[in-house]
């Protein structure tokens, strides 16, 4: 074989193997850039309410979740709305520029992005809202909560009762 071809083959093999090795060594590339459980994750301790303006909408990310990005003050937050199929059927009409109030569990991913796993989202100008999780954080699409699509165009806020403290799925990583 031509020496140049040998060198090119060796370099290609090196680049591929180093990429695989780096992924294996640093534990990255496991299909979760954020490292978060965006489908079913929720923690009552980090529940917060954020009001902001929608910057962009994404009907389905690589995990099939509908998302929107909003700006609240200086903070950019990615709101995870749940599976795109569920959102298409039960979600409310939103577009960039709309002002929304979102209540949900906040988390910072391994990619540095702040995520909000939405429990309820309200479009403030039309006062339309949809509840995506029950008060303990169980998602509507997984059969949790008292009823599907709790309030829509109801004109009244969903009642939020106190939630039990502590962690859900609290795996520990001691040092």
């Amino acid at each position: 074989m031509n020496p140049i071809k040998i060198t090119i083959c060796l370099l290609a093999a090196f680049i591929m193997s180093s990429s695989v090795a780096a992924h294996a060594f640093w534990g990255i590339g496991d299909d979760k850039a954020s490292g978060l459980n965006l489908e079913t994750g929720y923690d009552a301790n980090t529940v917060t309410t954020v009001t902001g303006r929608i910057v962009s909408l994404n009907s389905g990310d690589e995990h099939g979740n509908a998302r929107l990005e909003l700006v609240s003050g200086d903070l950019r937050i990615v709101v995870v709305l749940g599976p795109q199929g569920y959102w298409a059927e039960h979600g409310i009409a939103l577009k960039p520029g709309d002002s929304v109030t979102v209540r949900g569990s906040k988390a910072q991913g391994g990619d540095g992005v702040v995520y909000l796993l939405a429990q309820k989202i309200t479009e403030t100008s039309l006062n339309t809202s949809v509840t995506l999780r029950n008060e303990s954080g169980q998602s509507e699409w997984s059969g949790g909560g008292a009823g599907r699509s709790a309030s829509r165009n109801a004109g009244r806020p969903a009642t939020m009762r106190s939630q039990s403290p502590g962690r859900m799925g609290s795996g520990r990583m001691g040092r």
Partner: protein, 405 residues
């Protein structure tokens, strides 16, 4: 050696840098937690109702809660949880010991946070502040260290791969140049030898002829012995001239077929007197009608050279075994003796021309053998016989009888 030391040094530097990054990240988080705790204590001291704490916000806080000694949540960053009972008793160890507690905890969202617990003085009573901090910003130092390790190791591997490739290429080029130089040298030697041989043959024929004439006509005695000596030496020179001419002949591949069984039979008869004089026993094992892709005259020359060498290696007598087997389209001919064997040091140059360890020899015999075998599409190697003598193994393409394919 320098490259190896450089690799070890850089790897050590990268790993040391990485291992020192984790404590730095922890120190960052601990310092941040202490600052926040101190600020919160100040705010709570000014407003014992804790209402002012609700306005206390930091992007680094995942959540914060204040736990009373009885386990009730006095304050929580999620107001809905204030007043609830805390779900675990981990705060008690901090309360009892008064020592800070810190660990990594995975939240229900899947995020790993740094959890910090510290005694919190509120209106003369001691409560526990539990802070969960996002780690992403503080762990930037670890990400940089990881990147540094990846970069250094990648560059080292790349350097070794490229260095190895360049080394192999240079070595191959050097070997090629050496081979070329040797080939040119041999070509020049061959040309000179061929001219010399050609020029020597004609006068030699005359010397040999007159020597034979004298040997026939002279009466028995010293003069006749001299004449016979002239004839013997002339024959030796003639043989040498023939060898040189054969060696310098074209390298065209041989397409003629030879009968190995017949050639071996002829050689056994031809060498019988020589073997008897030398006290050498030759055992031959060749099946009938073994045909090879090598013409009879070349085959004859090849085997004669190898057998003559073997006989010469046994001046005090011994055994020679000539065995030929057919296997997978090849004929394997082995000639083994129980003489002193071939010196391993000269084995590498054994088949090169004009290299000999004999006092009387031009060093063309084995070179000719190699040339014949090459022209027939075979291989020849020298090794050690099981009995300790020399072993020459020749592989030639077999020619199958018609209809046997």
């Amino acid at each position: 050696m320098v490259a190896f030391l450089l690799t070890v040094g850089l790897s050590w530097f990268a790993l040391r840098n990485y291992s020192s990054a984790a404590p730095v990240a922890d120190d960052n988080l601990r310092g941040l937690a202490l600052t926040i705790a101190s600020a919160m204590e100040g705010v709570a001291g000014r407003d014992p109702s804790l209402n002012a704490l609700t306005s206390f916000q930091s992007p680094e806080i995942a959540y914060a809660m204040l736990i009373s000694p009885s386990g009730r949540i006095l304050f929580h960053s999620n107001p809905d949880l204030t007043g609830n009972e805390v779900g675990d008793g981990r705060y008690r160890s901090v309360l009892a010991s008064g020592v800070l507690g810190e660990e990594r905890v995975r939240l229900g969202t899947g995020e790993y946070v740094y959890e910090f617990q510290a005694p919190f003085h509120l209106s003369g009573k001691v409560s526990v502040l539990r802070l969960a901090l996002h780690t992403w910003r503080s762990e930037a130092v670890m990400r940089r260290a990881k990147f540094g390790v990846s970069l250094i190791i990648s560059l080292l591997v790349l350097g070794w791969v490229l260095g190895g490739t360049v080394y192999l290429l240079l070595r191959r080029q050097a070997a090629q140049e050496e081979r070329l130089a040797r080939q040119n040298e041999l070509e020049r030697l061959g040309e000179v030898g061929a001219v010399l041989a050609h020029e020597v043959r004609n006068p030699l024929a005359g010397i040999k002829g007159y020597g034979q004439l004298l040997a026939e006509r002279l009466p028995d005695g010293r003069e006749r012995d001299y004449a016979q000596l002239i004839v013997r030496e002339s024959l030796r020179l003639e043989q040498l001239a023939d060898d040189i001419l054969l060696y310098t002949r074209s390298d065209a591949k041989q397409l003629l077929t030879g009968n190995l069984s017949a050639v071996v039979g002829q050689l056994s008869t031809l060498l019988a007197p020589q073997l008897e004089i030398a006290g050498v026993r030759m055992v031959v094992s060749v099946a009938e009608q073994v045909m090879v892709n090598c013409p009879d005259d070349q085959l004859h020359r090849l085997l004669l050279n190898l057998l003559t060498n073997a006989i010469q290696a046994l001046p005090d007598g011994g055994d020679i075994a000539l065995v030929a087997t057919v296997d997978d389209g090849e004929v394997d001919i082995s000639i083994a003796d129980n003489g002193p064997g071939v010196d391993p040091e000269i084995r590498a140059v054994l088949f090169e021309p004009f290299r000999t360890s004999k006092a009387r020899g031009a060093g063309l015999g084995l070179a000719l053998c190699k040339k014949i075998v090459d022209s027939c599409g075979g291989t020849i190697v020298a090794g050690e016989a099981p009995e300790g003598g020399a072993l020459f193994s020749v592989k030639l393409p077999a020619v199958l009888p018609e209809g046997a394919a």
